[in-house]
Amino acid sequence: MINLQPYENPMYFVYLVIALLPIMIAMLRGKQLHWYQTIVSFAFLLLAFGGVKWHEGIALIGYIIFEVVLVGAYFHYRQRENQTWIFCSAVILAIIPLVIVKVTPAVYGHPSLIGFLGISYLTFKAVQMVMEIRDGAIKEFDPWLTLQFLLFFPTISSGPIDRYRRFKADYERVPNPQKYLQLLDKAVWYIFLGFLYKFLLAYVFGTLMLPYVSKMALSYGGISWWLVAYMYVYSMDLFFDFAGYSLFAVGISYLMGIETPMNFNRPFSAVNIKEFWNRWHMTLSFWFRDYIYMRLVFFIMKKKLMKNRIAIANVGYLTLFLIMGFWHGLTWYYIVYGLYHALAIILCDVWLRYKKKHKDKFPSNRFTKLLAIFITFNVVCFSFLIFSGFLDKLLFHNIILR
């Protein structure tokens, strides 16, 4: 059987548009084709997780049964009772498969058998459901809709991370042809912008330039201008590759009448690191903000575990970014990447407070804004250099003899 990875090559889009055509025609006539949509989703999941990747497919099936049963069981429990330890156990159970998948390679040196492409993103969705069920925000449990939400194929491999209640509203809404036409319009724009990002710009930075600067930086060794070049080229590749993919995922979602949230909003125009995280991989940073940071801060303040607001915020940042670092993988550079961003945000807050106190002292004009963007951009690119793992290779595993 053939295997087709999402958005990997232009042919994928041809198959996709042909398969989605009946849905698009139905939507334009104000009708839903849910049964057909389910068949298409199943077919594309089969293409991504079948063939040579069949073992991932089995892992996905096992995982999804586990999570749906867990969410369902917690929902039924929560209708009667609301004990904190049961809630915590449900969250821990929901993330255990992901933890195993992340820890296995670090301990045993080979990927886990229960891993599959996109497990992190499905876990974010499942945990989110458990938390919203606890808060009483999700008022009914629909296993079928939960499956549709978790397995929504345009976003399955790398997000964007949608929210259950938002997805449900879109999924169930009877399409309005006028509105759908606007969605189509945007979808076409996003998909073509995605082509530019992923198949042209990411190709230039990632496939043409990166191997060369990498080789040069390794042969010079240590700190060199080639290393600086690597930092910028890698950052550009990372952005265009991921933003391009995200544009595809959002565009294809729109074709199906689901307004999956955007993942990037001109991140390199941010004037400080805090704003950067409101523009970069937004669905992930908002997930961390809403389900970790805000809940942790809420807990600390409500239980009066700490008094000082600044200290509470800092504890929140450190927790958030450390978890984000571990989530990327158990290597020193992902964890340093997390710490680096926590530190950057803490310092950013110090600076913002100082500026607020001495408002009249600092000029604010086009030049200061450009300077702020420039500094933020470089702070971010340096973090991506850490993230890339290239320093690990350069410092500890550089096999090129000098």
Binding site: D135, A137, R289, D290, M294, F298, M301, R309, I312, A313
Partner: protein, 75 residues
């Protein structure tokens, strides 16, 4: 209720003229952040007796004083 919410907001944001700017976007203007939001939810709980779980806090529905007042009054 309205005065109380404005008082809480003025206290949290440190700006004293919110009563005249009820449609100002608190997040875009940098007056509220996640931290202050949590404080807002806790203050609403202790001072107004409205319990808002974090899940119900959808930023776009809570981004101006007017929207917050409307939300609180509807609860």
């Amino acid at each position: 209720m309205k005065e109380k919410v404005i008082e809480i907001l003025e206290d949290l944001t440190g700006s004293s003229d919110l009563a005249d700017n009820l449609d100002i976007n608190l997040f875009d203007e940098g007056l509220l952040d996640s931290m202050a939001t949590v404080q807002l939810l806790l203050e609403l709980q202790s001072q107004c007796g409205v319990e808002v779980p974090v899940s119900e806090f959808e930023r776009s529905e809570w981004d101006t004083p007017n929207k917050i007042i409307a939300k609180v009054e509807s609860m």
